[in-house]
């Protein structure tokens, strides 16, 4: 039973990777990757590779508006604008950028993670706007430490997919947080940890960026942050590029990096 499941997961991941290599994904119309079930597994034995792709995840959408402000601001709409600005800034740095949603739809957590998990040499950044927090500040979150999953024939569980990448996620998060702190006074200088659901199933260096907030008095105050946030993320990811090596299956926590 487990063997069949693992083989199916291995096959689907291999097909998804092969497809993404044969036709470099167009950022305008990315193909949808089917999300495996919560019990599916991932292959963790990957060859060292460089950073090529950034998967941006504008959170919420569809029937889930996310945080809502007094000015009629909804997180799901605003965060999409931040994602487009960030995409342009990253493309200017030479990255290929994929969005988990481009309109007002709401892919599941697993669908969003699957988008990143099907890439080779990718990082994942989920964008949020809080309903609280000091106005015009931004924080970076990574998953907290977790025990390494048992290494079973080179496979790791789908719901523990982030564990082997935690060390890389922290490096990426530190670099992006430093850039954000330079631009937005009052933002912390160091990243924070929180068990963000979206990060747990992502088999790539993954961070959550949360901006404060939808509760601003004037919508322009929030929207004016978009270029600065985009530039900070792009510079952080660019600085991370030389540090990025996909961990091998025997090195959970990213200890296979140089």
């Amino acid at each position: 039973m487990f063997g069949t499941l693992a083989a199916a997961a291995l096959l689907s991941l291999a097909i998804a990777r092969a497809a993404s290599q044969q036709s470099p994904a167009s950022s305008a119309a990315p193909a949808k990757v089917p999300a495996p079930s919560a019990n599916a597994s991932l292959v963790s034995s990957m060859q060292p590779t460089g950073l090529n792709v950034v998967v941006l995840d504008p959170a919420h959408g569809g029937t889930d508006p996310g945080a809502r402000g007094t000015e009629g601001i909804s997180e799901s709409n605003e965060v999409l604008q931040f994602a487009w600005a960030t995409k342009r800034a990253l493309e200017a740095q030479g990255f290929q950028v994929l969005l988990t949603r481009e309109g007002n739809d709401n892919p599941s957590f697993d669908d969003r993670s699957a988008r990143a998990n099907a890439q080779r040499g990718g990082v994942f950044i989920t964008l949020h706007i809080a309903s609280t927090g000091l106005s015009s500040t931004a924080r970076v979150y990574v998953d907290p430490d977790s025990p390494a999953p048992p290494n079973t024939i080179g496979l790791i569980r789908w719901d523990r997919a982030q564990v082997p990448f935690l060390s890389l996620s922290r490096k990426l998060g530190d670099l992006v947080q430093q850039e954000l702190a330079k631009r937005f006074k009052g933002s912390p200088n160091t990243l924070q940890t929180a068990p963000v659901r979206q990060l747990r199933t992502t088999a790539a260096p993954a961070i959550a960026v949360e901006i404060s907030s939808v509760s601003v008095q004037n919508r322009a105050e929030l929207e004016n942050m978009a270029p600065g946030v985009a530039e900070a993320i792009a510079r952080g990811v660019a600085a991370f590029r030389p540090l990025y090596v996909v961990p091998s299956n025997s090195a959970p926590g990213g200890s296979a990096q140089p």
Partner: protein
């Protein structure tokens, strides 16, 4: 031959009835929805009245406890507030008492970390030291959405239990008797939260507690049993 005049009157009356029905339909629908909300609230209230224990027994000795609410000086962090409460020595009752006090909130409402209308429906401690706290839906629906606010909410519960009820080693949060994927769209509630840095034998732990999904089978069974109890 012309149709009898009563037919015109009948058709006219029918038309007027249709127009009145069309005009009053949205109002009727609002009333039905309102009635449904009242019924749901009443059911929730009845559940709370059945399950909520006596908050404080004045016969219990008064002890100093620390409650963790939002910090006045630094936004996004918690501060400990010392309070003197009559607390039970039984860890389950004690947990209910401190969590109900936490839910009641600080004097300054802006510093509260949990929604004012949220309620603790049940609290259990499993043999492995995992505390299972079952909150009403309002914990999820009324909390300000965001990673920071959800993290503060859970952290305030965890740190209050850590300080005031040493028997609770880990915390599992349920919403209305069910495991929830997230608190309000961000924070992962499928895992257990580490409350104490020590295990049942008092040994200091190096690694964080495993998520609920990798808990040993007997403990998973116990969690499922508790869920079954709270569902009824």
């Amino acid at each position: 031959m012309n149709p009898p005049q009563w037919r015109y009157w009948f058709a006219g009356a029918l038309l007027v009835a249709v127009i009145i029905a069309a005009l009053s339909f949205p109002g009727l629908r609002r009333q039905v929805n309102k009635a449904r909300e009242i019924t749901e609230k009443t059911a929730e209230q009845a559940r709370r009245e059945l399950l909520t224990p006596v908050l404080v027994n004045t016969g219990d000795p008064k002890v100093k406890v620390k409650m963790f609410w939002g910090s006045r000086s630094q936004q996004g962090t918690l501060d400990a507030v010392i309070a003197e409460l009559p607390l039970s020595s039984d860890p389950v009752l004690r947990s209910k008492q401190v969590l109900n006090t936490l839910l009641a909130g600080p004097v300054d409402a802006e510093l509260r970390t949990l929604p004012p209308d949220a309620a603790l429906l049940a609290f259990y401690i499993l043999p492995d030291g995992t505390g299972v706290a079952d909150f009403s839906d309002e914990l999820r629906t009324s909390i300000p959405s965001g990673i920071q606010s959800e993290q503060l909410a859970v952290e305030s519960i965890v740190r209050t239990l850590e300080t005031d009820v040493p028997q609770v080693l880990r915390l599992k949060i349920l919403i209305h008797g069910q495991e929830a994927d997230t608190l309000a769209g961000h924070l992962d509630l499928t895992q257990t939260f580490r409350v104490s840095a020590r295990d049942l034998t008092g040994t200091k732990l190096d690694n964080p507690s495993p998520p609920a999904s990798v808990l040993p089978a007997p403990i998973r069974k116990a969690v499922d049993t508790v869920r079954g109890v709270t569902k009824r």
